[in-house]
Symmetry: C2
Subunit: 221 residues, 2 copies
């Protein structure tokens, strides 16, 4: 048939619409991180829009979440995957360090991971990452760098949990980039079995963009 009636005037997508779409995604992330069961009302409000408008951009709540998950997993994977794992200890430090650069995405993905149907989906997408981690950790156990009292597979899960744990605490306290960076590296390596002073040696220079102040912990508690 070819309905080639010469398209009247396809006209571009409006700029504010695209911007609102991003607002919604961003709002959804920050809201769902706090309460994974938050309704479309809350998300729309956070985005400064109407519930009806949100449904104009995403046909379903699940579609919205699916998109968050997809971009989150993509960014995390893209951030971690080129991994040079000569020294398992350095590798874990690198992973922790890079993870800290994606805190918001990591946290969103992690929080959603607890909920029912999403956990399976997330596990599926993040499996390659977990395999890399498990390989690195197992190598570390084999080479005697890490603790010997637990199989690599289990230790990998514990390290993963420790990292998420730190990320959670770090954002809760609003740590600076340098603080969070150091905390996640030392804690994951400690969990891997290193003494904290050994672990501290693997804290490289934190990524640029955040010139942390002098006193680190003085301003809190």
């Amino acid at each position: 048939m070819m309905s080639s009636v010469s398209r009247p005037a396809p006209r571009q997508v409006r700029r504010d619409a695209l911007l609102n779409r991003l607002s919604i995604l961003q709002a959804a992330v920050s809201v769902l991180c706090v309460d994974p069961d938050a309704g479309m009302d809350a998300i729309a409000a956070e985005a400064g829009l109407t519930r009806r408008t949100v449904y104009g951009h995403f046909p379903t709540r699940d579609h919205l979440i699916e998109e968050i998950l997809a971009t989150g997993a993509t960014r995390i994977a893209a951030s971690l995957l080129p991994l040079d794992d000569t020294d398992p200890r350095a590798a874990i430090a690198t992973i922790g360090s890079r993870l800290w650069g994606e805190v918001s995405h990591v946290r969103a993905t992690a929080v959603l991971a607890v909920r029912g149907p999403y956990s399976a989906r997330i596990a599926e997408v993040l499996r390659p990452l977990r395999e890399v981690l498990e390989r690195v950790v197992t190598a570390g156990v084999a080479s005697g760098s890490f603790r010997q009292d637990v199989p690599g597979a289990i230790l990998a899960r514990l390290i993963e949990g420790a990292a998420l744990n730190v990320l959670d605490e770090a954002t809760r306290l609003g740590l600076t980039s340098a603080e969070g960076h150091r905390l996640v590296v030392i804690t994951t390596l400690s969990c891997a079995g290193l003494g904290w002073e050994d672990a501290a040696r693997y804290v490289g220079t934190p990524p640029p963009g955040d010139a942390a102040s002098g006193g680190e912990w003085e301003n809190r508690a």
Copy 2:
């Protein structure tokens, strides 16, 4: 007035009713640990009863959860509170060890703690515990036993998270008592900054009742 009409025959509570009440609580724990949003349907089914019957024992879903929380917090507190904290390292080991003895209650409480309105309630009940932990950890930091790169208050939270993390993983894998015992002690102490070999020295004899086999990890993955 004294309506002393000589109570006709108050007759005791029926035994099966009391038993069903316990069934419901137990079922609620195991169901809510998996899905904190599980409905009364699921709980009743797990208990082998009807939804209507559950409402005969608990006027409200929140009342049911409140009772789980209360007994959970009570048991945890009763298990941990008499704490002899001469050596912070030994104290953490003791806490981890005792915690492992209350896994099911700890996990139930922890999982519920993530959800909205309950988190505040739980934090309130468990605050004395957290204060003890924070005191012990701060002492450990001050005495140089623990890592020096983080204030005691934050380290306490990290250790708490590590413990819950291990408990989670341990029950997920169905570890034996001896395995879980050792795992939680070494992991928490590692998180506190000890090297794993130092931490392993604080694994006392596991509590009686479980004669673990010879090979510990061979039967899994």
